[in-house]
Amino acid sequence: MTDDIRSMSAALANDPQSLVFLDLAELLRRRGQLDAALKVATAGVARHRKLADAHDLCARIYSDLGDGEAAFDAWMEALQLDTTHLGAHKGLGFLYFRAGDLPRALRHLEMASETNPDPGLELAAARVRRAVEESAREAATAESPTVIAENDAAREIGTDTVAEPVLDSAPPQTEAALPEPAPASDAELFAGFEGARDGLLLLDPNGLRLGGGIRNREGADVSDAVAAHLAGVSREASRAARLLSLGPWQSVAAECADGNLHLVPPSDSAVLLTVRDASVPAGRLALLADRAGQAARRWLERLA
């Protein structure tokens, strides 16, 4: 055991609430002591559940261990706690990239780049963007699939957050769970509905936007932040309903003093969120959500 590890272990033993576990687990990870690193990191997460860095650390260790599904979940947790978390966006960007879902990979890389202007990240995002554009062109002309500059982009995205050899074994489970990308234009999704861009949001099971949008009272677009919190809500609602023998879930609603929120599942692979201010009663919002859900279902069926 080196002095660094020994001293950090002693500090952590002396004060289990200390954040030194982040440095200790990271050091162990870099030295390839992955089981020990994971033990330290998961204990840290148990004590600091709302610390996004702790979930990010766990995700990187899971990734190094080749458990892409666990890494994916841990990065999603990190994003739920901090929607701008750099490591989580980079990690998810790379997982999506390896799974071949370039639009989502690009979205995460762009979000990472926005919060942390970095030439390496911008270069990686630019390469993935070119690949997305190329794919779109080829799809339009029904030509053979593009061979993208995968290795170059992977090297740029990987940097020191994710070890490239591990990501070579990106999890098939994650890939299988990823829904098909949304079409380039979603303008027709909620055509004719009031609030199509500021009160209706269609998202996939991983909390990524498929269409629509949500704005707060100041007019800022909060769609991605809201969607990140709803990642996995469908699974959670299904689980709750199943455990209580209530059958398939039909809606989840939240009544607030200044507004109401209503979720419906237009399909097994999507959730629709409807938000209105308090002038729209919860009952009326439910009817509106049902109608918007039918429109979303038709739109999703056209994609299939």
Binding site: N216, V233, A241, L246, A257, D258, L261
Partner: protein, 116 residues
């Protein structure tokens, strides 16, 4: 269970179609007190309700709204309702599809008010 909690939960449980009511710690999803019908897994209900309420709380905050006053999961054969109360507590009820949800909601809001 203290008499105050018991009375409040029993009023909720007395509403037609309500299978049981419970008081849950919102932050860790543990049961504080319950008045449940046999066959309802209280610990599972508590954990799931707290998780769902927490997730929706973070969602409404992100959307620029205040914290939820009522959370309602509706399913084919029934509902789960959760109403936040003081001291990090949630009043939670499970009910069948034929329950009087409106009355249960009012009783739960009243019960939550009594916890303060």
């Amino acid at each position: 269970m203290s008499g105050r909690y018991r009375e409040a939960l029993e009023r909720v449980s007395a509403v037609r179609g309500v299978q049981g009511a419970m008081l849950v710690s919102a932050s860790d999803g543990l049961v504080v007190a319950d008045s449940l019908m046999e066959g309802v897994d209280g610990r599972a209900v508590a954990a799931l309700a707290a998780s769902l309420a927490g997730r929706l709380g973070r969602t409404t905050e992100s959307a620029g709204l205040s914290a939820p006053r009522v959370v309602h999961l509706r399913a084919e054969r029934g509902s789960l309702l959760a109403v936040p109360a003081a001291d990090d507590l949630l009043v939670v009820a499970v009910m069948r599809a034929d329950a009087n949800v409106g009355l249960a909601r009012l009783e739960m809001i009243a019960a939550a008010g009594e916890m303060g």
